[in-house]
Subunit: 674 residues, 3 copies
């Protein structure tokens, strides 16, 4: 079903808004000259162009677009063509009020901003369908056009009557009868029993805001309705006769949508990456971004596109710092090292007015090419050509971390031990970072992902066991996998309803423990994990734990570490059991990073995982992309000082310095035949 995306070269370029300069042909001309100079081969056009494409209802104006595409194509520059649904024209909002969203308080928003259309509105869907089809008819077979960019950064939700009705249908399809819904949602609590689906209303702080199952299903509905909206766009494109692949640009750790469900509607995943570099530790940011790249790649387990990134400083963060020399190249190659087949920017030319006029661009208001930013963009273009053979190569991971959006939603909404912060994301990231520091490719997966092929699976705070996830984990371990489960796991099913008879549900025999109580610590409190002498892993350091400390009863497990303080001094902090051919570790508390670094070093060794690089100094990142016959090793140094990274002799240098001493922000790419 998914389209093959193989362009044979890295896409280099980005968002381009020529419609803002139609009265300045000199500038449009200059753009092409500069693009070529900067090795730019791809532009994304049409994002937010609706008011120019259809200035009055039914009056389409595509000629300017064709001319732009043609002019670029003549110079070897391809086009990613966007559908314009990210922002509708004023005339449409004025004539058809229903295209605008309603807030949770059931009042309608006015025209303004962007991304605020109702996903359900038949009128809006019809208008989008019409223009998308027209665009496909006109450009769908144009040799310059290579990819459809559906709308822009999907997000948000609408509480209008149309959406309410659709939500009720969605619930009816899911639950069948209202009795079943009542039972699954536990509506007896606080007399919330529904007599019919018609009585259900979307969550609102002015109404129902504590029925977790309702809120969870509403979030799922929003994702499904967004995907349905995308399908409407894709259908229009296909009806217009275009068979080109489609993508949509996703966002950093966006929790309004469940991206794993975009797997089938998109032919290729793409995302917009705007890290806040140059904080106190560059490496911390690098790990954070790496996890997002890995998350995006794991959606389809295939190369993705870096659809947007900033060539200089953004303009929408609290503090928008300049990228220091070398940062642009390092950040661009980081995307490639994690599986991207492109380096695309927002934006190629700065707009002259409105809210993003000071967002960094390849060409700024000054308008010439003798700028630091232009020189650094050009360098990126050159390097991408130099490493062209790596494009389209894939990544294999034997380690994975479970980071499931539905689980995240449920934990964030839970009223439980710590309502200030359960630290779920931090916990996931500590597991991820410690695994990555073993020099391993790591996937970031959801509960739906297949576990075959993984030797180590970290499943921290797997609060919600959806659709028999406990069975999936059991089988995984039985078959020889190593599972690292933690506190706050297996408490509820997919409707956030608690399992009875003990937790982690369905895995008490697999883990050999039962969770009895969980203590929340004030921010100023801490406990310690004291290693048990002679444990099979050989951990010998004391580590701090904070925030949450689970008290478990051991039925059949080895205790590797025990609490050092409080009334549960001596209770287990870390247990281990072999089950089937595999291993299960259970981490009872929110441990400091150092624990995970120590722990996963030992667990990876036990599981037989090994990096291509023997010793990985602090701040250094190692990933591997591979083709059928070649393995490519990407090494980056995000430490503040030079680091020496010894690479086995069989690797030959593709990019970077000969020396194994790597300066800060330096990248080396090596290869060897398989």
């Amino acid at each position: 079903m998914a389209k093959q995306i193989k362009y044979g070269r890295y896409l280099h370029g980005g968002d381009y808004n020529p419609e803002q300069w139609l009265d300045r042909p000199d500038i449009l001309q200059k753009d092409i000259e500069y693009f070529k100079k900067a090795h730019i081969n791809t532009v994304s056009v049409g994002i937010f162009s609706w008011a120019v494409l259809e200035p009055e209802e039914g009056k389409y104006n595509f000629d300017w677009l064709e001319e732009i595409i043609n002019n670029l194509y003549k110079e070897g520059i391809h086009t990613i063509l966007a559908t314009p649904s990210g922002a509708r024209p004023k005339w449409m909002a004025d004539k058809y009020e229903e295209v605008l969203r309603m807030d949770p308080d059931r009042t309608r928003r006015f025209f303004g901003g962007r991304h605020n259309h109702c996903f359900t509105s038949p009128v809006y869907r019809e208008k989008v369908h019409a223009i998308d089809k027209k665009l496909a008819e006109r450009f769908g077979k144009h040799p310059a056009v290579m990819l459809w960019h559906i709308s822009n950064e999907f997000g948000g939700e609408c509480h209008c009557p149309l959406c309410q009705a659709k939500f009720r249908e969605w619930l009816k399809e899911k639950y069948g009868t209202i009795e079943n819904l009542n039972k699954r949602w536990c509506t007896t609590f606080w007399s919330h029993i529904y007599n019919s689906f018609d009585q259900i209303e979307s969550p609102s702080t002015k109404g129902e805001n504590e029925l977790h199952a309702l809120k969870l299903d509403w979030k799922r509905f929003v994702t499904d309705q967004t995907i349905d909206f995308i399908k409407n766009e894709v259908d229009a494109i296909r009806e217009g006769g275009s068979e080109l692949p489609v993508t949509a640009n996703l966002m950093y750790d966006y929790d309004g949508l469940d991206y794993k469900k975009f797997k089938d509607v998109l032919d290729i995943v793409s995302w917009d990456n705007y890290p806040g570099w140059h904080k106190k530790e560059e490496y911390v940011t690098a790990v954070d971004v790496a996890m997002q790249h890995d998350l995006m790649r794991s959606i389809k387990k295939a190369p993705f596109l870096l659809m947007e990134s900033c060539p200089s400083a953004t303009n929408w963060k609290p503090i928008n710092k300049l990228k220091k020399p070398g940062m642009l190249l390092a950040g661009s190659l980081q995307a490639v090292a994690h599986g991207s087949d492109s380096v695309l920017y927002f934006q190629l030319r700065q707009s002259q007015g409105a809210s993003e006029k000071f967002h960094g661009a390849v060409i700024d208001h000054y308008g010439k090419d003798d700028t630091r930013v232009f020189r650094e963009v050009t360098e990126v273009g050159e390097v991408l050509e130099q490493i062209q053979e790596t494009v389209g190569t894939t990544m294999r991971s034997q380690a994975a971390v479970l980071y499931d959006r539905e689980n995240d939603w449920a934990i964030a909404d839970v009223q439980g031990p710590r309502n200030v912060d359960m630290h779920y994301r931090e916990n996931v990231q500590k597991n991820y970072r410690a695994l990555r520091e073993q020099g391993l490719n790591v996937d970031i997966i959801a509960m739906e992902h297949d576990l075959a092929g993984y030797k180590v699976l970290a499943a921290p705070m797997a609060y919600m066991f959806r659709d028999g996830y406990e069975e999936k984990l059991r089988t995984y371990v039985e078959n020889g996998g190593t599972l690292v489960l933690s506190y706050w796991s297996g408490l509820v099913d997919g409707t956030d309803k608690c399992f009875l008879d003990g937790t982690p549900y369905g895995l008490m025999d697999v883990t050999g423990i039962r969770s009895a109580e969980i203590d929340a610590l004030y921010d100023w409190e801490e406990n310690h994990a004291i290693p048990e002498k002679g444990s099979h892993l050989g951990i010998s350091n004391v580590y701090t734990c904070k925030n949450l400390c689970e008290l478990v009863e051991v039925s059949d497990a080895e205790v590797l570490m025990r609490y050092g303080e409080d009334f549960y001094q001596g209770y287990p902090v870390l247990t281990h059991k072999t089950f089937g051919k595999g291993h299960v570790y259970y981490v009872c508390a929110d441990m400091e990073l150092g624990f995970y670094q120590d722990f996963y070093g030992r667990v990876a060794a036990e599981a037989g995982l090994k990096s291509q690089v023997e010793f990985i100094p602090e701040g250094v990142s190692v990933t591997v992309r591979e083709s059928d016959d070649t393995e490519y090793l990407f090494i980056q140094n995000y430490a503040r000082k030079p680091q020496t990274v010894a690479v086995p002799a069989e690797y030959e240098l593709l990019y970077g310095t000969e020396s194994e001493v790597m300066a800060p922000l330096q990248t080396r790419i090596l290869k060897k035949r398989k």
Copy 2:
């Protein structure tokens, strides 16, 4: 009028929601088995059961409830029966919109949550009346049922047209003419003069939000309307033929209602106690809770019920810590030591879903009795049986602290010297704590309370002198009482209108001083109170004052301490005067706790107040309950270390260790014949 509440044993048990488990008879059966094991003799049922009791309009379904009550009763367990008005069914909200509240912006809330009904709506009152009457008819004479639990945790307000109309009636009744209201409210300011009562609107941040008298009267109206709502419920119960006593569960320091006015509508006061134990100093929390117990007891000056408390961790605080071993027993006995005749929990069995599913319970999702919590609950039940002779005994206090809700409202709303925080509550608590540390029972009273019987009365920041309170204080002192008045006292009358001609109003001759100015200090500022050599109390330490420093002119008073800094260096901080047979002290500044501890030690001695325990170590609490012939001494140690508490030989041990060395969280109960 008030019903006699004498059960002959401590009530032990709590909230129980069997309607959530009607499809699990095995669980309902297990519950009874466990209740008996844990010495549970009382359950509260029917809270939030309306949707099950009346699933469709006019179709009542009470059979399941009768069966539950019968099954429990067979095993010796009594029932507190709730009226279901705390949350209405969805069908009612859908059919009769008026049952839902309006926010101050005059928009109506949607269905959701709980406790959000309009207190005025005739429809809602009628529906509540109907089901309450039906419940009374069916269960009002059932031998198992011992008490009515009216609705749940009353609170909140409604700004709908029905409430507006009722508010205008209330005002008309209070003020008679609009001219009188204008005069009392000072509406000439900012041209707010009303031509008729019809023009008055409830306060709102979208409208009038600075007319203090309006806001104050609105709060009073909300209390009165809530009480009127309760009366409607009680009437229904009486019409249904039940003569059982009624209660309503009040909340910790809740400032939305004036609880003193609940005195007559309730036969017995009960409240829900959820302290945040295990912060840095356990004792600080203990004092805070003690003051609430004393406040609740003082409403009717009679034993009260602890209606809810958590057997383990709550789930709605920012950080929900486990109760450490021994805390449940200590906290339960603290309630008893301050006058409770019960220890009841929320909840007996955890619900499987919805917002409170992780709130601690006697029986948790695991569902067995081999848990730490279950063992500790059982211990509480055993101890309550052991000290059964103390149930129903009363408390006498010779010291009282004025903590008046209307005064609190007025101070909180005042635009005065410190709008960030006037620190009224902290001031009250410092007075309370220092008095309690003399080993005295202390009442927490409002301006309406009779002052006869008190030897020492602390009236800190008595800003509002309502209904001639100055005369009450004058008489109290004349008759021999010791009054401790402070800065920010006697400034306004009951409509927040300033007294002219000098303050503290009506007491300038009694105190011998006039308040001339008041200085507000920045948070980083402080002043000091320097003792005057040879003052009759003999205070010799220097104490810090912060926040507010009043400058008084002395006409006829002894100056005991003077300011040490600023332009008012040398002005009085503490004055004293004998008046009639009594003493008046005037504290000019917000003094540190140490001052009050020193000061009240001397004042109590002067007033002839003496504790049963000669020396009370830090962190130790002493109270006395008494029957006609016996005095019971309750001693608890909330210090972090063991403390030795010597008790006169005539006391004999009823509960606790023989040794006078008390471990942390330990309780000893002793008795002697009067």
Copy 3:
């Protein structure tokens, strides 16, 4: 056009609300007695009196007012008469809903508070016109009445349909065609193109909130509509036959209106001054207030009135401190030293109720004259009589600081390098303070102000060059002026549209530099400015820079300081160029105060500016007022310690001690014949 305002004496007195005491003739009588005792010669009456002046629609009741005015006049006290439009009566809001404002969410506010009328409503304008005219007819020629006080503290905005329509008219007049508006506003961005003026809506967080040009024009419209509202009031007064001058009381640094546009509608500027004295450094507050006085004086470059100030503590700040002894006099004389011809208070007598009842007053609730405040007010009255010859004298400044409200709006709304805070105001104040510390009178001006006469002009962060401001600056320098321009200057035109081809726009040749990039620093970051050896100014210290660091390319300028760190180490921080007969300095970074103090000392000397006082110790303020033949030197000491200020022998003492050693808060006034 502007009325001559010469009263021959300082106005001393303030806001007076006798309508609150009409039932207390004894108090009204007492007031006059006290006023005379305190040397009060002027009262402001009628502010917020509408409900008393017109208790029912069309029924006017002015007799009481006439009696008050007459009684005061008999005792030599004049009246400033207010129009009552600051708060309308309840009957009007009830009958004509349109007089109430709509919030940005298009919901109407309810009656309440004050200052919340629609500025467009024809009904409201008509009602205001009617009562103003009646007042003018009755009192416009009364010998006691000297000045009209239009409404009160204008501010706020309304989003009702009437205002929307008026806004569209305003835009049409400004832009002519919708095409022109689209082009100037850059509406192509995000598809915001308007097809007609009818489609435009005011900014709202529920709608359009990121189109900067729309938001900027909306703010301009609000100012213009407010002025139009004032004109309606003035017209009514004139139609009523009064030719007395008019004023409106402005507010401290109020950013809701552009006060420079009030220049023509007011005959004299007045403002309400409520400093938060007695923070850690008195002098910092003094500088802050001084800048406001200078800003108000600069609007018309003429004496102004201090319309309100507090004789004691305010009641609306978070912490309302008492004024320490001497502060009232010092603060009052500070206003005079900066060009005020009055010292007026809010309020003469405290109101007995409502929100401002605890605001300080000359006569408080106690009601007698034996108070500290009354004594200090009396002293102010005495001193004003002593220095009567200085009243009406003017001020000349040879230095000015650009602080432009439209520029401020644009910077505050920008999405640029630092969205947390661009620190514009602090930057302006650092320039102002350093110039003032040279002992110079300083004007605070907008871009419209004429630059002739200034020798030094500081234009920090002149982001927006409106209406060819670059030409004005060029001419100013060419003619011999010294311009200090800074980073973040000359980026956009008057519609917030970016200039192309390099910035500071139009001044790259004048400054000899081009701004290439701008770096934002985290709050914990800093860089340093290192002096270049042998620069012509001779700066030799290293200074810290924070927040924003611009990177400039030098084409033709002397570099005086360079960055000490980061990748732009060695780039210029301070440059200089002579251009025509003048000098241009360009400051690239947000420098610490010490830099400006050092820098302006050298720049003032270079520009030939010299204070009357040779050496000005820390914390001392010097200003000069002058008449045709005499120069008056005002010296105040805001340091915490005594300072010695040597004054040339030709000055003779008008007020203050003979000694040149000035105690804290002391003032000396000296004079010399020109």
